[in-house]
């Protein structure tokens, strides 16, 4: 299994952010995205996830293989930790939430309402959601924000376990996750030249009409 991205263009609103993005990731490896703030790491991940329309180029894997975890964790404050996870497990058609609860040591918190969690605990809940998606390619946008050192280490082991099962991960991060099989991609080299404004509504709002 291999994810190949060829000549992908990314756009944020009307502004072209990246162009000619090409890389490939083999099963069992991780790709670390590097680049200064505002260089387009989030935009690239959102384009890969299918949340933003691609500005030309191809992605070899279907959207259904990708699981996205962005800055926001998608946690409902009024639901308990277990209910939040159970919901995403049901949505992704996955049976158990036990492995996800155990991974980040969330079991003692399982019945606590998410509004009473700390920022780091919310982040752990948000990341453990990846396990219930059952998808092979993880797209992670600054996953370690507000995690303590111990949780970062656990998260590193979680990714390593996922890679060992043949999965892949594309991670935008500035810290060392301790992954042995990680390659690094500096996306500053793909920065789009010039500001090519296009009509975002007619051009790409309806570009995938018929095959959403």
């Amino acid at each position: 299994m291999e994810l190949t991205v060829t000549n992908l263009g990314c756009r944020r609103g009307e502004l072209r952010v990246l162009s000619g993005v090409s890389f490939s990731v083999r099963g069992g490896t991780a790709l670390i995205l590097r680049g200064p703030n505002g260089s387009g790491k989030t935009t690239l991940l959102r384009t890969l996830a299918g949340l933003a329309p691609a500005d030309g180029g191809t992605i070899s894997m279907p959207r259904e293989a990708l699981a996205y975890a962005g800055h926001a964790d998608g946690i409902k404050a009024q639901l308990s930790v277990a209910e939040n996870l159970r919901f995403w497990a049901d949505v992704f058609g996955h049976a158990g939430i036990d492995a996800a609860l155990d991974m980040f040591d969330l079991r003692p918190l399982a019945h606590r309402q998410a509004q009473h969690l700390s920022a780091g605990q919310k982040r752990r809940l948000g990341l453990s959601r990846l396990l219930v998606t059952g998808r092979p390619i993880w797209l992670l946008d600054e996953p370690t924000v507000s995690l303590d050192t111990e949780s970062v280490a656990i998260f590193g082991r979680m990714i390593a376990g996922h890679l060992a099962d043949g999965g892949m991960a594309i991670v935008a991060t500035h810290i060392d996750l301790g992954l042995e099989t990680a390659e690094t991609l500096d996306i500053a080299q793909f920065r789009a030249s010039g500001e090519d404004h296009a009509n975002p509504f007619l051009d790409d709002g309806f570009a995938d009409w018929g095959n959403p």
């Binding site: 996830a49 949340l51 962005g70 926001a72 964790d73 919901f87 992704f92 959403p212």
Partner: protein, 218 residues
Amino acid sequence: MIALMKRDLQLALRSGGGFGLSLAFFLIVVMFVPFGVGPESAVLARIAPGILWIGALLSCLLSLDRIFQLDYEDGSLDLLATAPLPLEGIVAMKAVAHWLTTGLPLTVAAPVLGFLLNLPVEGYLWVFLSLAAGTPALSFLGTFGAAITVGLKRGGLLLSLLVLPLYIPTLIFGAQSVTRVVEGQSNSTAFAILAAISLFTFALIPFAAARALRVNIR
């Protein structure tokens, strides 16, 4: 998709979910009318169907901006859009959940409040039936408006302006379905059109709203 519906109902019923808000607002609007227009029972009986329908419509409007805005703010909407559910299905489930937590309670409460407005006896059944047939259209049209305004900060005003004109046909034919019966005429045309509006929104709105959401979340 059942999971999504279950979660939305759960969220609406828990504290801060806004389940009681629409119902309480409906109650207040309808209860204030006799104080405002005076206690003459003949006047109240004449305006009762219209008041009940306007009250239901405004109560429905009150909770529309919650449909997508909360999911947008906490990131759930992005995650749902990448989930293996069609966005059209997500929209439909959201609209149904909105109806179950606002339209349905209003429909059940309306005949009781009709008593306060001295609604003629023959009107009770049709208030219930017309609201049951018409409020789903209010939820679906509102879902479309919510999908268009989802990314906007404080988009409530724009949402109301967008949705109110779309609500007018539902209001006219809904109120007529009751008024005509009270006046001793046949209401079959008005009720048929009301039901047709609802069916039309079921068929069309999920696609339109899903398209609007796709443009808004990118």
